[in-house]
């Protein structure tokens, strides 16, 4: 009984640490800049302060991303651009590398268990990766015109994502009565073993053309904001194209490894990757993801998911506030 009370208290404390770390990372790590006297760009701190704080911040992000079932990039870009001194160009560059590293690390397991479907991923990836190049170039162009434009668009997108996460109701095994002509021509179908029920499940797609068209927009958004795009991939694959949820989630993760590769190269070639901040972010998030997977068995993902939706909404509003120059949220 006492152990239960203790565990409940620890969980409560942990939840508050996570909320604090997500909503104001520098406060969570007990560091304050003297307002008005600190040089811009974070030069008030010695150089090693930033890699350390980024590593731990991204470690926490990695844990939470796994528990909340979202990608690292979608948390990294709005939070780091909102609360760290880096320009949005570098945050997007690092965000894409973070999303890419996470997707590549997950890829082997998903492919070996045949949960990521190549028949489904390859045509979709071609569209999304070509469009993410256009998105990355558009994002860098808009940033050159006026960085606030990107902040406003990012804020609006993040608020939209949090609403999508709140309201979308994915279907475990959608019913597809008849496969459409494009799905049939591309042979987008398959069989997977459901480990929970031990049964073999056959699946096929419908509404393939609308699904493929939606990946044009997903690719552009992924490249433009450096977000990764798991938040959009899964609903389109599952709700529009009728792919079972397990295959949708796995294929989406694998898909990111291709979509983000093309956009990442545009950012790398434009000089948007600064090793001092990018490497601790990548490594921190990957280690955090590994710990998150282990915590998944004991955590309460539903609570964490709602917490992440709240933090995303807040960081989206903060990006809007920053972009519009309102300064209502500090």
């Amino acid at each position: 009984m006492m152990v239960e009370v203790f565990l409940r208290k620890v969980r409560f404390l942990l939840a508050w640490v996570l909320v604090l770390a997500l909503s104001h990372p520098q406060a969570a790590f007990a560091v304050h800049e003297a307002a008005g006297t600190a040089p811009s760009g974070g030069a008030a701190h010695t150089w090693w302060f930033w890699p350390i704080i980024l590593f731990f911040f991204c470690f926490v992000l990695g844990v939470i991303a796994v528990l909340a079932g979202v990608g690292g990039g979608v948390l990294f870009v709005p939070l780091v651009s909102g609360f760290f001194p880096f320009h949005i160009d570098f945050v997007r560059g690092a965000g894409l590398m973070v999303a890419l590293a996470g997707a590549l690390a997950a890829g082997p397991g998903l492919l070996r268990r045949n949960l990521a479907s190549l028949r489904l991923a390859l045509p979709v990836a071609l569209i999304a990766s070509a469009c993410s190049i256009a998105g990355a170039m558009l994002g860098l162009y808009l940033s050159r015109l006026n960085p606030n434009l990107i902040q406003v668009c990012l804020g609006a997108t993040i608020c939209g994502i949090s609403l999508l996460l709140l309201f979308s109701k994915n279907t475990d095994k959608p019913v597809v009565k008849k496969q459409d002509a494009i799905g049939l021509a591309l042979g987008i179908s398959g069989v997977y073993r459901d480990e929970a029920t031990k049964e073999l499940v056959e699946w096929k797609t419908h509404r393939t053309l609308p699904g493929l068209i939606l990946f044009i927009f997903i690719g552009v958004l992924a490249g433009m904001f450096g977000l990764g795009a798991g938040w959009a991939n899964v609903p389109v694959l599952n709700l529009v194209m009728g792919v079972p949820l397990k295959i949708s989630v796995a294929t989406s993760k694998f898909l990111l490894s291709i979509t983000d590769t093309s956009a990442a190269w545009i950012y790398v070639n434009n000089g948007c990757v600064i090793p001092l901040m990018a490497i601790p972010s990548i490594v921190g998030l990957m280690f955090g993801s590994l710990v998150g997977v282990r915590l998944l068995a004991v955590a309460k993902p539903k609570f964490i998911r709602y917490m992440v939706i709240g933090v995303l909404m807040f960081s989206g509003l903060k990006a809007l506030d920053k972009g519009l120059g309102l300064r209502l949220l500090g």
């Binding site: 811009s40 760009g41 974070g42 030069a43 701190h45 150089w47 001194p85 880096f86 320009h87 160009d89 570098f90 590398m97 890419l100 590293a101 590549l104 690390a105 890829g107 082997p108 492919l111 070996r112 045949n114 190549l118 028949r119 390859l122 045509p123 990836a125 071609l126 990766s129 070509a130 190049i133 990355a136 170039m137 860098l140 050159r144 398959g190 069989v191 997977y192 073993r193 073999l200 056959e202 490894s257 291709i258 590769t261 093309s262 990442a264 190269w265 545009i266 790398v268 070639n269 434009n270 000089g271 990757v273 600064i274 090793p275 001092l276 990018a278 490497i279 601790p280 490594v283 990957m286």
Partner: protein, 143 residues
Amino acid sequence: MSEKSLSEAARPMPEQITYANLLFLAVWVSILLMFLTYFIYVTGIMKPHVPMEAVLQNWSLSVNDYLHNTDAPHGWGWLRLLNSGDYLNFIGVAVLALITILCYLVLLPGYIRGKDRIYTLICVLEVLVLSLAASGILGSGGH
């Protein structure tokens, strides 16, 4: 479909396993490289091209201003600076970003052998798209 043929269909094709194995190896090689090169960078074993103080003073500026103020390279210009601690880190980043192209080349023979023209074409086009992005031809701005 019978239970036996369903079971066979649930198995990944051999190229998919090769893709997975190659990906697994490359990811861990790149992580290891990132660890090593970052250690070399932050311990100052190799002098960086852009001093730490200059990075801190300029990372709140736009990428064009950063490149201008720090004389940092764009495109594949980092290859010429591999003797500096900071740009040494790009080896791991490049491995991470190049591996998918290599994996697609692994898939290609399977589709060609199976006379799957559509997926052969998709693979070839994807390799071209990713190579174009990596080449630096597209939008590699700079100063």
